[in-house]
């Protein structure tokens, strides 16, 4: 599905270089639900951004379905993000002028899908995340948990092979966080979508089939999740 080899990312702040990821090698198979954990500054979000093609690594290689994506033009990376990947931000990141359903189907419009098709799919996804009654609501009229579920539906609209989520529950109360994690888990289980998410919350990691731990940019041995 997706693999990384000797992946490193170094940030330069003035004259100082800060290594965020050091020689990461990992492989994620189809259908997995992987949680990337680590302390603050360990490089977990940086790793997610490299794997989700939002950022370019300083060194190393990333293969998506066997295709090298490091060094690819932004145009091709954008096309891959649109057609094969879904991304859920920590801060919901919905477009404020669009309704819930418009936020969801925007990537499908961009992909060129027929209007009738993407509207039906949008309705199906919003029903699946429990928001079929909130189609016409704009983000400001939705709670944090509801916005995050709209963001999850948006990430799924183009039937991606992997959904990445960067601390999807960080800004939510525990009840909303639980709903979001259950939604991701259900999608993974029912639709077979690979989910890779970042979290520092042990409650979230319980939903994962595998946990990847990072410490100072180094990969720690993978562990099975502990059911709390």
């Amino acid at each position: 599905m997706i693999s990384a080899h000797d992946l490193s990312k170094t940030y330069t702040l003035g004259h100082v270089t800060v290594p965020a990821l050091r020689d990461i090698t990992l492989e994620i198979d189809a259908g997995e639900m992987v949680c990337i954990m680590g302390k603050s500054g360990s490089g977990k979000s940086t790793l997610l951004r490299q794997l989700s093609l939002i950022d370019q690594p300083t060194k190393g290689s990333i293969l998506l379905d066997g295709q090298e994506v490091v060094g690819m033009s932004e145009r091709h990376r954008s096309a891959l993000r649109l057609e094969k990947l879904g991304y859920v931000f920590q801060e919901y990141a919905l477009i404020p002028e669009l309704t819930a359903e418009e936020n969801v189907y925007l990537p499908a419009m961009m992909r060129g899908e027929a209007r009738r098709s993407y509207r039906a799919h949008t309705l199906e996804l919003l029903e699946r995340v429990g928001l079929s009654s909130r189609l016409k609501h704009r983000p400001r009229a939705l709670s944090g948990g509801e916005q995050q579920r709209v963001a999850i539906a948006r990430a799924l609209i183009n039937r991606p092979v992997i959904v990445y989520a960067d601390e999807p529950t960080a800004n939510l109360d525990s009840a909303a966080a639980r709903t979001v994690m259950q939604t991701l888990s259900q999608l993974n289980r029912d639709l077979g979508i690979t989910v890779v998410f970042v979290s520092h919350d042990p409650d979230d990691s319980a939903y994962a089939s595998r946990i990847i731990r990072l410490h100072d940019g180094h990969l720690q041995p993978s562990t099975e999740p502990q059911i709390p």
Binding site: S78, I95, L106, M110, A155
Partner: protein
């Protein structure tokens, strides 16, 4: 196909942004564009108005539409009445009047200077020129008046000490006073000032007029002759058309159009044209910078959103297209609003309260061709002003756009 998809998404985002975005910001942006467009229109229209005033004053008070002079200046135009009768029957001719230069020196007390004194037929002169309607003292000449003289304000002075030509004028002459005119024959004759006119046009305010009757009484040999014939054309008829129509009437005359006689004011017109061109460039530059700032601020505020849109796979072309469309709509609404305010409020107001320039009252005159040109330039400026920051934002790293690093 890709371009159509980009355009579709761009139009979708732009439409939603207009429909559901901050209406106050949109209204302010459109208002700003309107003000910018008014500033682009205003000064050039004022300068065009000033140039139009110069042309109007020139034709209405000094040159008419066509001047006929004898080929041999020493002889004058003979049998002028027959010639005038023929001219007045020509299609396109509204009126014609003859003048005869009779004197060059006017004296009042110790003040004396050189001005042209012309003999006119008061009746036909009033049909060609507006001077008789611009009296500031006294009354216009009667055709049978053989003792009266009409003076321009720059000749009489009339105690108007703030006149630019006051120091060279007779300074204190008013209607009812007498002045001495030295005729071309060398004789001096005293006339009673019947009236003083002020056209607010330097070329014509330095004139002095007696009647043809007075001239013929003093210089009988001038009977039925003229040194010039001024012809007023009907509305829409050009000087060249009138000239062509009357050219066959006689062969001992030559023609001059107002443009040929405008050398004295050509430097003013050239200066106005130069100012007009400079101000137009400056206005458009200010417009470009304003539009650029508006778009840049909007894009800077939405940089994070653009980063997110890119992260979820929205193509750069669609994102740039969205901002281009919004900029075009803002510019279109702004120019329409600006044009409406300019045409329906500012121009009518200035028509009622014209600016007073040295050459007369000036109103705003807008040229439709230049206005349309300005609309297109402003639209092009808006597109470029939106394109540059939009391209900059979509080519920066997604993370830099989202987190503003």
């Amino acid at each position: 196909m890709r371009a159509i998809r980009n355009l579709r998404v761009a139009a979708f985002l732009a439409a939603r942004s207009f429909a559901r975005g901050n209406a106050g910001v949109t209204a302010l942006t459109v208002a700003m564009m309107a003000v910018v467009f008014i500033s682009v229109l205003f000064l050039p229209s004022l300068i065009r108005g000033a140039i139009t005033t110069i042309h109007r004053q020139l034709i209405n008070t000094t040159t008419s539409n066509l001047i006929v002079t004898p080929t041999n200046p020493g002889q004058g135009i003979k049998d002028i009445q027959t010639y005038l009768d023929k001219i007045r029957q020509v299609n396109g001719v509204a009126a014609a009047t003859p003048t005869q230069r009779v004197g060059t020196q006017i004296t009042h007390g110790t003040e004396s200077n050189t001005w042209g004194v012309d003999a006119i037929d008061p009746h036909s002169y009033a049909e060609v020129f507006t001077t008789p309607r611009n009296l500031v003292e006294g009354k216009y000449l009667d055709p049978a008046d053989t003792e009266g003289i009409l003076l321009g304000i720059d000749v009489a002075g009339a105690d108007h000490t703030r006149l630019r030509a006051y120091s060279n004028s007779l300074k204190t002459v008013h209607a009812g006073d007498t002045v001495k005119v030295t005729l071309d024959t060398g004789l001096t004759h005293t006339f009673v000032v019947r009236g003083i006119y002020q056209n607010s046009f330097a070329l014509s305010d330095q004139g002095a007029y007696i009647t043809t009757a007075a001239a013929e009484q003093l210089m009988p040999k001038l009977r039925n002759t003229a040194t010039r014939v001024y012809i007023k054309a009907n509305q829409g008829i050009s000087s060249a058309q009138v000239q062509t129509s009357i050219d066959t009437l006689r062969h001992d005359v030559q023609y001059q159009s107002p443009d040929q006689l405008a050398a004295a004011i050509q430097d003013q017109i050239d200066t106005f044209d130069l100012i007009n061109n400079i101000m137009r460039v400056i206005s458009l530059l200010v417009a470009a910078i304003t539009v650029f700032i508006i778009t840049y601020v909007d894009l800077t505020n939405r940089r994070r959103q653009i980063g997110i849109e890119r992260a979820i796979g929205i193509r750069s072309g669609a994102i740039v297209g969205n901002y281009l469309l919004k900029s075009i709509v803002n510019a279109t609404l702004g120019t329409m609003l600006g044009l409406a305010v300019f045409r329906l409020a500012i121009m009518p107001y200035v028509d009622q309260h014209p600016f007073q320039f040295p050459n007369g009252a000036v109103i705003l005159v807008s040229d439709p061709h230049t206005t349309v040109q300005n609309v297109w330039i402003l639209l092009a400026v808006s597109v470029v002003s939106a394109l540059i920051p939009a391209l900059r934002t979509v080519t920066m790293k997604i993370l830099d756009a989202i987190w503003g690093t």
